[in-house]
Every structure is written in structure tokens, then in C-alpha cells.
Amino acid sequence: MPEHLSVTINDVPVCVARGTTVAAAMLLAEQPSRFSVGGEPRSALCGMGICFECRAMVNGVPHRRTCQIVCEPDMTVATNP
């Protein structure tokens, strides 16, 4: 079994396998990565850093492309408002 670590997504602790990208963790937690200009929930589309739909707040920094970031222990992730 892969080693696991804990991250916080929208204030809820989530346990993920080491190596999981933040985008994948948000999908597993069923949390949208961002809300669109018109207020729609969105989640990752292209999975390769092109579409920017997976951008979310990571450790307080907004607009991070979460498909390009691997989860680290105690990371705080939140849906981009």
C-alpha cells in the first residue's frame, strides 16, 4: 500500500496517498476547485496545466494550478472563490 498523508480541503481533513496531485485530492473530496465568473462550480478539465479550471487556493496562495502540484503533509487547500 502507498504511504498516506493528510491535507485539509475546505476545512475538512482528507487522507490521500503520497504522490496524489492537489487536483486529484479535490476530486476525491468532491470539492470544486473554483467558482467561475458567473458563479458556477468548476473542477479540473485538461489535467495538464493548460485550462486553468483546476486553479484553487493552496496554502493561502490563490489561482494555483492544482493539477501541477503534488500534495504535501498538512497542506491547506480551498476552493478559489
Binding site: 476525491l28 489535467g47 503534488v70
Partner: protein, 449 residues
Amino acid sequence: MRRTDVLVIGAGPAGITAATAAAEHGRKVIVLDDNPAAGGQIWRGDTVETKDSSKHAEDAPRRKALERLRLSGAEVLPGRSVFSVDASGSLQAIRENTSGSQVEEFLFEKLILATGARERFLPFPGWTLPGVFGAGGLQALVRGGYRIAGKRVVVAGTGPLLLAVAAHLVEDGAYVSAVVEQASLAQLAPFAVSMWSNPGKLLQGAGYRAKLWKSAYRIGCWVVEASASPDGLRSVKLTDGTSTWTEHCDLLACGYHLVPNTEIASLLGCAFRGPFVQVDSDQRTSVPNVFCAGEPTGIAGLEAALVQGEIAGLACAGRDVASLQKRAAAERSFGERLEKAFALREELRAVPREDTLVCRCEDVRLGSLRGHTSWTDAKLQTRCGMGPCQGRICGPAVEHLLGWKPISVRQPLFPVPLQAFGSDAGQTEITESTEITEITERTELQEKR
């Protein structure tokens, strides 16, 4: 600032063979890639360690190529997005880490563009719902640790990628209820016949089909709508042009073949042949000391990328490439056959409704684009294509729907927070919304000039 003989942009198959060839012939080589690890898309590895680390057929060749790259002495720097480049020999990339972003500068003698391709997305009602992904997109996310075991998935769109993705999703425990290919049998049949001369690719295709024995393979059908319940995606409506039916699914993976990533080539002023970067038989572009290999020169798949990369790397090192030309020509002709076989059908233009979003970044609907005559006009009036993806997603869609050709690209190619340029970058707390608004305002001003 780093100085190198050969700078390669992209650590996919083309970039890997290019860097390996140049480094094995004594050149100092740096490879930049915007993903967290080398491999590119088709060779994307699982980021989560699994018990069975060689579960996918392409794992062995990928590992072998990466090992040879490592032994060549080429230095791979992942997590770098190139946002600015100058043909005189300098380039800037942004490196993002958990605490912020930094700008890095590289000086080069020779540049190899191995920037690969992205999926083409065509809008349909419901395509912005969570649970709807690109085809390669869903596969990439699964490789990144998204678990889909037990999920009911429809894979749709067009291109050879659909079967490969569907087979991988099945390996990962999903139930793929249908693979939906828009190309007609009349388009696909000559392609299938021509594949008899290429037993390797034929066997690969047969292998995918064998894994998909539980899935319906529907040719000449396409998605017209996706619907969700409060719990998530519920179903997808499909048509063959005559009748329409509903397929229940938890996830939809939909992509319409590939479009080349040519933004950096455009910025450098490279000549184009249609949508592709024009290269000679040594993979040289029209700009001195700039080479290009793989999908940006024509969508032709893995084997083409490998041989073109090797040619570019050898040519950079001043070596003879004649022995590779026959292989390269055969792969190019495969690409041309692919293009014909998976050409988009007219009916796809009628799929989005007037209220369907086209630009996901700025929430611009198809109806509000009507009446505009060009990209520039539409951008100024609607902001279509002016969000953080800079039209990379809606551009190919608009081209198909309205026939507007893309307009010239500008730096920065990716949103860059101004703080990243500061000396204390990395420590600076980036404040809400500066990043996105700065780039869009800047682009807007440039547009108006």
C-alpha cells in the same frame, strides 16, 4: 541565470530523445517542463506509488527512455512554465512552489521546441459541469491519484486517444459503458486498412479493444448534452444524427483529438504550415538555431515524436541524421492519415446552444459571440479568450464553430504574478486576485493598441 548549449522545452517523448541525443554527443543540455515530473502526456507516469509499478504497457519504454536521459547527463528541470522567449537566445520561466513563484532566466545557443499537444475541446450543453473531463484529461488525473474504481464512465470525442484512454480507465477499475467516436465508418475504414502496413500500431489498437470487451464502441456518434443531479454528473445524451439516446454515467471523458502547442513558436516568429510549425528534414524551423520536434510539427503520435526528437538533438550537436529520415517520413504519413480519419464532422457545430459557454475562463456564451466578425472584435466586446488560459481552450473551439483563425500570441504566455519578479520572490505573500487581473488587463491594453 543559467547558460546552456541546448535548451529543450518539454520533457515528453520528443523532448526526451532530443535532449538525450544532444547530451550523448557532448552538448550541455537543460530540459524545462511545466509538469511536476518528466514524461509528458502519453508517457505520464503514476505519481502515486503502486504495488504493481509496471501495470501499463507503455511503462517499460518510458522508464528506459528516462533512464537513458538521466545517464546522458542532460539536466531536467520540471515545474517550469516558459512565459517569455527571445530568438537571440534567452528565455524566462516561472517556477511555482508551495510558498510562491520565482522567475528563472536561461541563456541558450540552440533551442528545441518539444511542446507537445493539448486536447481539442468542443462545447456542448453541460461541458462545464464537474464530472466532465477531457479524455486525456481524465487519464492524467487518474495518473495523479484520482481513483475511479467502480465509476461508470463514458469516453467520447474523436481520435486514437479514446481507445487508449478507455483501456487505461478499465485497467484502473472503471466500468467504461461506451466509447463514442464521432468519425464515420467511411472515414475510419481506409485508415484501418492502411494500418496493415504497421503491425505494431495495429497490435496496440487490438490490445486496447480486447480490454474493452464490456464496452460498446459506437462509431459515427457524438455527445449532444451532459446533465447533472445535485449529487454530480448523471447522464450524457448521445446521437448518431438520426436518433438520440441517454447513457447514464458518473463521469464523462470527452476530447476531440489534439491541437499542437505552438505558442512559443509563434512568439519566436517561426513560419507555419497551416496550424503546424514548419520544419526541414533536420527539424529546423525558419528561425536560426530554433528546432521543433513532435506534435507541434504535425499530430502524428509517439513514434513520430521519438524519431523527430532524436533528429533535432543530433542536428543540434552537428551530427548526421540521414539514417533516421526514412522512419521519420513513414511516421509523418501516419500523421496525415490520422488527420483525415478523425476530421471533425459538420454536425458538431450545431451541438452548442446559444446559451452554451464557449470561454470557460470568462463565462462567454456562444450567443454573445454571434455578430462579431473576428477574434479581436469579440475579445474587446466580450472578453472571450482573455482569461488565464489565454484562449488555449476556447481558441480551437471558436475556430471550429465560427471559423475565426487564432491571432498572434503575446508575452507573458502564462499568468505571472508581478511579485515573482521581485528579489524576495518566494517569500512574498501573493494577494488575492492580483495574478489574474494583472495579466488580463495587460493583454487588454495590448489589444487596444
